[in-house]
């Protein structure tokens, strides 16, 4: 049931190819653009990880075409140790910023947040368009680093100063690092514009009857994430500005006195604080972990409820836990810096809230798993990836318990244990959320169903493959295998090479499995079975409109919301679910607990 709009439309219907598909004000097109950019970035990032894994196992292998891309970094196609670090830096930067932030948050959030709250578009469509194109420019600036003089930077995605602040500090540190800093500064501006839009839209454009607690969990996740992003990117932006000034304007924010680099005493800088960069970076960096994982957690909650055909044990507790995680994310940045030389007592102070953050995370996990009891689980590609998310989140999260303790972190920090930890809990888990969201929402976004059989093959291949890659990392870390080294030949770590070889094969296999996904996505987009409006018998507002939705979402009408978001398994109802905008009167309102 909906009301016919008597108001002017939010913006006029788009005319022409450019306005419809390129510089579009439509949040749905912008969401798809973010998704497409993320897809491009993840393919590049994955190829980079292959190159690194191949080099680790076969350090003298000549990789075709790589020599042409970087004659200095990979002469004859053989990767130098410096180029290995450059590949690592670009892999991390692309994946964290342009994949994990872009797709679950900006991509799906842009597409579905306005629809799920019953709005016609975002609050500021022009800012929204700008946010994508600014992000795109940031991406182009970053990728340009591959093609300049000495290649991309080698200081890692965290760009620790003074390595990142001095142009002479290594290959890629001249132009590449400057491009990196400019790219990330531009990216921050894009994310700030996006967060501003998300927050304002959620607060101001909700349909009649859509109270905050009636918003779906993924809407909540995007809203909380945008609050986190607003404050986190507002700190990374100043950090990048100061870094750029150190690099190009001769200031000394991060470069200390009496520094010798490549046998040269640095005289033009003095007195700076490398720790200052780490504080500013990680004040952003830790919330960034939740910017990646919370939207994925919201998406999989939304999907699991639909697959369980029942609400989660508590809608409110899930939301409060997400809020708690968001709040605590600002109090734990120092746990990335236990070995940085800061006061050891600070380490203790940061360790405590880090352990506290496991409480809401554990409650979330228990609710996801506990709600399975007595449910009528429907196995689909989306629900498999959602369950896979829980598996990755738990596996990666448990290793976090160890790393949160400074005394253990001292040993593990520089090893593959950390690499395994963050790839599982942040990287793979968030990517599983993206896959789950894709299989679940593709019918709505493209109007065609994806192939379920291929989806399930993709899931099992990815699930087994990622475990084969990242579980051995933990073992390697425990036995002392250092990270960031480009090769382990003739080294005390040589006995571990079979494990590395296994990981490399697993990485190549898992990457190959992704071709199934890409084929499925492209084939279904054009040849898939036509999707009905509500193929999953779901309850939230996005399923009340055509697939794909018209440009103004609800066809000029304003939906009215009568129910909580997840009214599944309603006794006495005409079906096993009641949509949010259905005027059907039902006796049981589960989350209110007011009715007997």
């Amino acid at each position: 049931m909906s009301e016919v709009s008597t108001h002017a439309a939010h913006h006029a219907p788009p005319q022409g190819f450019i306005r419809k598909n390129v510089f579009s004000l439509d949040h749905k097109v912008i969401g798809k653009q973010y998704y497409g950019l993320g897809l491009l970035a993840v393919i590049i990032g994955m190829v980079l990880s292959w190159l690194m894994r191949i080099h680790l196992v076969w350090p003298n292998a000549a990789i075709p075409l790589l020599g042409k891309l970087s004659p200095n970094g990979a002469p004859g196609g053989i990767i130098t140790p410096e180029y290995y670090l450059q590949l690592m830096t670009m892999h991390g930067t692309l994946m964290v910023f342009f994949v994990l932030t872009n797709v679950p948050f900006a991509g799906f959030g842009n597409y579905f947040l306005p629809i799920q709250i019953g709005a016609e578009d975002m609050a500021f469509p022009r800012f929204n368009m700008m946010s994508f194109w600014v992000t795109f420019v940031g991406f182009c600036v970053l990728v340009t680093a591959f093609f300049v003089g000495d290649g991309p930077p080698l200081s890692g995605w965290t760009a620790y100063a003074p390595l990142s602040a001095l142009p002479g500090a290594g290959p890629g540190q001249v132009t590449g690092q400057t491009l990196w800093a400019i790219s990330i500064a531009i990216f921050c501006v894009g994310q700030l514009l996006g967060s501003l839009n998300f927050i304002t839209t959620t607060l101001d454009l909700r349909a009649r009857g859509m109270t905050l607690m009636r918003m779906p969990i993924c809407t909540w996740a995007w809203f909380i994430t945008s609050c986190i992003g607003l404050l986190a990117f507002a700190v990374l932006l100043p950090a990048c500005i100061l870094l750029i000034l150190d690099r190009v304007a001769g200031t000394s924010f991060f470069v200390p006195s009496n520094l010798v680099v490549s046998d040269q005493l640095i005289t033009q800088h003095s007195g700076g604080s490398p720790l200052l960069w780490q504080h500013l970076f990680w004040f952003f960096g830790h919330p960034e972990v939740y910017i990646a994982i919370l939207p994925a957690a919201g998406i999989i909650s939304h999907i699991l409820i639909n697959s369980y055909r029942r609400p989660l044990l508590s809608h409110k507790v899930v939301i409060y836990c997400m809020m708690a995680i968001g709040f605590l994310s600002y109090m734990v940045w120092g746990h990335h810096m236990f070995l940085s030389g800061m006061n050891p007592f600070s380490a203790l102070v940061f360790s405590f809230p880090t352990l506290v953050i496991t409480i809401p995370a554990t409650i979330l996990t228990l609710i996801w798993i506990g709600s399975l009891y007595g449910s009528n689980l429907q196995i689909t590609s989306a629900s498999l990836f959602a369950l896979g998310f829980i598996s990755m989140f738990v596996t990666g999260g448990i290793s976090g318990f160890f790393l949160a303790q400074p005394s253990i972190d001292v040993y593990l920090h520089g090893t593959y244990f950390v690499v395994g930890h963050f790839h599982m809990v942040m990287g793979v888990a968030a990517i599983f959320g993206m896959f789950a969201g894709t299989y679940f929402w593709a019918p709505k976004m493209f109007g065609r169903m994806m192939n379920e059989t291929l989806g399930k093959i993709h899931f099992w291949g990815t699930f087994v493959g990622t475990y084969c890659i990242f579980m051995p990392f933990h073992y390697l870390g425990l036995v002392g295998n250092v990270r960031r080294y480009s090769a382990f030949v003739d080294d005390y770590l040589a006995p571990l090479m079979p494990v590395h070889t296994f990981i490399t094969y697993a990485a190549l296999f898992t990457g190959a499995v992704q071709l199934i996904f890409i084929y499925n996505l492209i084939y279904s987009r054009f040849r898939g079975q036509l999707a009905p409006d509500n193929p999953w018998n779901a309850t939230s507002l996005e399923w009340s409109i055509p697939s794909p939705p018209p440009w103004n979402n609800f066809g000029g009408k304003h939906p009215v919301v009568y129910h909580d978001p997840y009214q599944y398994g309603i006794e006495g109802s005409s079906g096993d679910f009641v949509m949010q905008d259905s005027p059907e009167q039902i006796q049981t309102v589960r989350d209110d607990k007011k009715l007997p």
Binding site: M1, E3, S5, H7, A8, H10, G118, A119, E120, A123, F124, L192, S195, L196, I199, T200, T201, L203, D204, L205, A207, R208, G209, M210, T211, R214, L230, L231, A234, V235, L237, P238, I241, L242, L245, A249, G250, T251, S252, F253, P256, S257, S270, G271, G272, S273, L275, L276, H279, L280, H558, V560, Y562, S573, S574, S582, P583, E584, Q585, I586
Partner: protein, 204 residues
Amino acid sequence: MATTLQPPPIAKLPLGIRRVKQFDSEAPSTGVWVGLAAITMTFAAFTSAMVVRQGSASDWRHFPFPTILYFNTLALIASSITLQIARHRFARVDRAATATYPAVSALYGTLVLGLAFVAGQYMAWHQLRSEGVYLSSAPSSSFFYVFTVLHALHVIGGLLGILYVISKLHRGVLRRNTLDAASRYWHFMAVLWLYLLLLLWMRI
């Protein structure tokens, strides 16, 4: 359970949402608050960076402020006052373009005073340059330039906002909350400048 075609009684709708909120355009107001939160966070980050950097080495150098900064401060405060006058006049008059002259004249006052502030800041930088105080001379001067330039850029953004408001007023389509949102941003720039002036005065 019977399915009805009529909406259930209004009591079923949650309290507090009495009307359709869409397109009633509360968004500019909320958006400005959210934007100001981000700007506050940015300058807070710079402030903490300044405190840390000052304590990290003994190369902090004090230098006298250009006097013109105080005149600039007066110009910015005066521009906020004229903006308040514009708001006051706008509230009283009819929104038809013919009756907007008193409000628009006050807005032009804000525009001119805002431009004077930016020009005055440029003169302050010019004076410091002539005294040999450059961006990279000392950490204190680095932070001075970073703070003042970024604030000036935000003020220029505000001036564009004021121009937008003036053009809407001329066309007779200015809404009250658009003017309120622009004013809130502008007043915030004045308050932010007072904070920065105090901070820089104490530290430099």
